[in-house]
């Protein structure tokens, strides 16, 4: 009798265990989390009922820090907003200062800036490929991607002196011209990466397991993407050809022929394919820009930067970084420090509103998959 009473008690808890609601932390210390970000998941069994994003682990009060430093002192600081691709931040800040002061940029500097930004895009996408294929369990293409990214960082080190933070784009041009033989080394490095594309395809992109694990996961429709402020590959994977390099061209992007890659379905599988197509398009674009580059100066010297005072005004500048639309709202009151700086970063809507919507009804195993395919970069959200 006692045995059956105990059995009844056990089976009672067993049936309620799977109905019990638990709160799990996909927290900052997690093997699948790239960057210091946390998601609180309310789960029942294996299904997520509600996901809440917790940013704030990397908040430095960036915009307030920039108000306390002069215009020239902000240049080493502004690239640290996003650590994976710091160059688009430099471009956006330099362009906003150029718009307020009216400094002109020579033609060759526009080409060099485009080549530089495209190399940064290739490096950033390779980092994203490392994170994503590691998350899905494909360790080999992850190691290859990180190795190829290191070859691109060698090029950056030769050109600017730093592997990660470059501080290369100034208002008025770029800091220095290409060293001798740099163009040949760029072509050689990109060819050596390009020769491995069939290997990447057969190991990862055309792999049946990748198809099974990523198809239909974290999908959003084009209507939802437009309503929630998506840009970048999250929007291009739903079919819309929205790329700021075409919509509002800057630097030398309107001087070469290139196409915007898109896919139709809006799920994780489509987003990663858009990333792959963008990388290949960037490499072709770099070759065309290197061929078409004119000779000339690379830097228009402006007024003395140590005593610089930017005239009153405000502006909003945007560019296409590797994750989407990166914008800067800059207000100057005529002094030697910025009055208000506000970065519109692409991971802000992706990581806070779209992530919470895409995770409803997902299983716990797909949380990391969705998060990394949306390419949520935590320091950009918190600034």
């Amino acid at each position: 009798m006692r045995g059956t009473a105990v059995m009844a008690q056990l089976s009672e808890t067993a049936s309620t265990d799977s109905e019990r609601e638990l709160e799990l932390y996909f927290g900052p210390q997690h093997l699948g989390m790239v960057g210091n970000f946390s998601i609180t998941l309310k789960v029942r069994g294996d299904r997520v009922l509600k996901a809440t994003a917790n940013p704030g682990y990397l908040h430095r009060g960036f915009e307030k820090l920039m108000e306390q430093r002069t215009w020239i002192q902000n240049f080493p600081l502004v690239c640290r907003v996003n650590v994976i691709e710091p160059d688009s931040m430099e471009w956006v800040y330099a362009r906003a200062v150029e718009k307020l002061t009216g400094i002109e940029v020579p033609e060759r500097a526009h080409y060099i800036r485009s080549i530089f930004l495209e190399l940064a895009r290739v490096a950033s996408h390779l980092f994203g490929l490392w994170a994503y294929s590691n998350m899905l369990g494909f360790d080999t293409p992850a190691q290859w991607a990180m190795y190829h990214r290191d070859l691109v960082l060698d090029l950056f080190e030769e050109l600017t002196g730093g592997r990660v933070y470059h501080i290369y784009i100034w208002p008025g041009g770029v800091r220095r011209d290409f060293p001798k033989g740099f163009k040949e080394r760029v072509v050689e490095t990109l060819h050596s990466i390009g020769r491995c594309v069939p290997d990447y395809d057969s190991t990862f992109f055309n792999n049946r397991l990748f198809y099974e694990r990523a198809r239909g996961i974290g999908g959003i429709s084009q209507q939802e993407a437009k309503a929630l402020g998506a840009t970048g590959q999250v929007l291009r994977a739903t079919g819309m050809k929205f790329d700021i390099r075409k919509v509002e061209p800057y630097a030398a992007y309107d001087k070469v022929d290139w196409e915007v890659p898109t896919r139709e379905d809006g799920d994780a599988y489509s987003r990663i394919w858009v990333v792959r197509d963008e990388m290949i398009e960037s490499v072709h674009m770099i070759f065309k820009l290197l061929d078409a580059m004119p000779e000339g100066e690379v830097f228009n010297r402006g007024p003395n930067p140590f005593k610089w005072e930017i005239p009153r005004g405000e502006t909003y500048v945007r560019c296409e970084s590797s994750r989407g639309e990166l914008g800067l709202y800059l207000v100057s009151d005529g002094g030697d420090k910025p009055y208000r700086v506000h970065f519109r970063t692409p991971s802000y809507p992706h990581g806070l509103t779209i992530l919470e919507k895409a995770l409803e009804g997902a299983s716990i195993a797909d949380v990391g998959n969705t998060m990394i395919s949306l390419y949520v970069v935590a320091p950009e959200i918190d600034r």
Binding site: H30, V34, N36, L58, A142, R163
Partner: protein, 190 residues
């Protein structure tokens, strides 16, 4: 292997095995994390130094704090550090844990990491190169040999001071003290 190494292995095999298998807890605390994937993948290959990332702090004995530490992150760091088993070593990576670095005047980042958890060594730079990580690891080996990498012993000895600093900066801590903290005699009500 030279005779010196063989003698060391025979004399204290546990210390040598500990030294050559520092398993790092995988926690991306700040912007220094961008140089950790190159360090643990094929080009710079930290595994030939014995350094490997592990999933949970219960399995790790090296904690690299890569980059600046905000207040929310400090909570997570203290909890992670207290979960690691002894002996454990902490390395501050980058200029920001040393004295605040680039964000010395930010209201949300802490300025000196060794006021809150014990730190065995620092690697300076913004970013430090991957070679600097390996130099740091070899220095840590020398410290372990001489018995000077005693952060975890200092934590136990001075726990009252560390806990007081943690409470001063974080204001309310929801986890109990790791080691017993004696209450002062005059606070006991009669």
């Amino acid at each position: 292997m030279d005779r010196n190494q063989i003698a060391k292995w025979l004399k204290s095999p546990a210390k040598m095995a500990n030294k050559y298998s520092l398993h790092a807890v995988y926690f991306c605390t700040g912007c220094g994390i961008i140089e950790i994937p190159p360090v643990i993948t094929t080009r710079w290959d930290a595994e030939r130094f014995g350094v490997l990332p592990v999933a949970t702090p219960r399995q790790g004995n090296l904690f690299m704090i890569t980059g600046y530490v905000s207040l929310k992150t400090l909570r997570a760091i203290i909890r992670t550090y207290e979960q690691m088993p002894d002996p454990k070593y902490t390395v501050g990576f980058g200029s920001c844990p040393i004295n605040g670095g680039m964000y010395w005047d930010s209201y949300n980042t802490i300025k000196h990491l060794d006021k809150y958890i014990p730190v065995d060594g620092w690697i300076a730079g913004c970013m430090p190169r991957p070679e600097a990580v390996f130099i740091g690891v070899t220095h840590l080996w020398t410290l372990i040999d001489k018995g000077k990498a005693d952060g975890y012993l200092r934590y136990k000895k001075n726990y009252a001071a560390y806990r007081r600093n943690q409470e001063m900066i974080l204001r309310d801590i929801e986890w109990p003290p790791l080691y017993p903290v004696e209450s002062k005699a005059e606070e006991v009500s009669v």
